[in-house]
């Protein structure tokens, strides 16, 4: 997973240029891993860390956790659970939307939904 490590290193180095808090050692300490492990991950010599560590890393670096997880070849647990809960619905939906451009997917997201008046 070199792309994950390369991306993390690039973002961390960019932040470190303006703030020493983003040194390898300090970032590793903030997410609770050894500096040598993070260094190996950044150089693609070690697999990306666990999902909770990727979430922590995303939080420290100000990145979108879903993007970091995707770079690590993972899907967040909540999405996995949602798909496993209704596999046919989500499989159909994803296959239908996967080739559409972003603006078309956004239109689907923003479709009007009817509101039920209820009793009160």
């Amino acid at each position: 997973m070199k792309s994950f490590g390369t991306y993390v290193r690039k973002q961390r180095e960019r932040l470190r240029a303006g703030d020493p808090e983003y040194s390898l050692r300090k970032v590793a300490a903030r997410i609770g891993v050894a500096p040598s492990f993070l260094s190996n991950v950044e150089r693609g010599q070690e697999s990306p860390p666990s999902e909770p560590k990727i979430h922590a890393l995303a939080s420290v670096l100000g990145e979108d956790p879903d993007v970091l997880l995707a770079l690590a070849g993972k899907i967040s647990t909540d999405l996995q659970q949602a798909i496993c809960h209704r596999p046919q619905v989500f499989a159909r939906l994803i296959r239908e939307l996967k080739d559409l451009p972003d603006h078309a997917v956004e239109q689907v997201e923003q479709a009007a939904r009817q509101v039920r008046e209820g009793q009160w």
Binding site: Q110, A112, R113, Q114, V115, G118, W120
Partner: protein
Amino acid sequence: MIELQRDALTFSFPDVHPEARLSIDFQRTLRIPDDGDDYPLPPGLGRFPTRLVDDFSKEVPRTWLQHGGVMLPMYQSEALWLNFECGWVEMHRAQYPFAVKIAAGKINAVSGDAWSDRLQRRSQDYMVAPEQPWLDGFCVEKGFIRQFVAMPLGSGYSAEEQLTGEAEFGGLQVIVYPMKREVFERRFPKRPERIGDASALYRHMDMAVCGAAADMALAPGGRMHQEIYEDPFSFDDWDREHTSRCFVHLANSLVWRAITGSDPPSVPPTAKEYKKAGLPWYDYYDDKAVALGGSKKLDGLDSVAVMGEKKGDVPLPENESVTPENIVNLRRGLNPGQVREGSF
């Protein structure tokens, strides 16, 4: 029919007129100090994320499913205002008018009376859009409201609890009545086509800054200058056969993630932070409209700060007084293309 799209409710009445559409959204804002002073209108910091309660049927309380409607997240002591936008009918070069009644915890925000589905003209208990572009709180006096401030239902602060002694409903309730089609077509006859709607007013800021119980209720907060206008039309102009109503549940932001899986918006800036940044406040005038007198019932309620003092609580963190300086005056009634003179 009511639809939810992009965090706004659209009430449409295709049986009355194809363009009879009113959009209502719920704006995040800063809480004005509840210190006895009068404040101008605070900004809109964007719409609250608004979701259908039916989409979270396993997570929301059973009563919410019974009420139907939508839900949005509010922190304790966070404020909100309602934004009304009427559909533009190009052929008539006019916005389609609506009578709108708003209640908090089934207490009418204009009259202070208990909820009723019927419109009341004598001692008017509704507003007229587009004449009334916004509502920020409870109408307590001619030209003044007390800001809608969220407090947990059951804590005793809400208008509902102060007036009924019960903590039963919370949330916001909305009912909308369109103008009769024949009346609209008579009052706003067809006119030559012209592009654009110059009557929309905006007070939105695009700002980058910009084990709890689930239910929140609205309580009267700080005083603000805002007029609630008299109905400029005849009572018979309203189509009382076609109405739509919606219950808007206010979910404590602390439980929003547990219900929806999404984070609520961040806490809005305080009035002090906002003023320090030199950002604008607003004042709104309509020279042609007549303001309603306020509700004595609502004026008699304790504001959140006053009740907090009586209870020995501090319900409003960071309630320091501020002196707004950068005030933008907005005036209704300009013709399309007309330039506002302003003051200088």
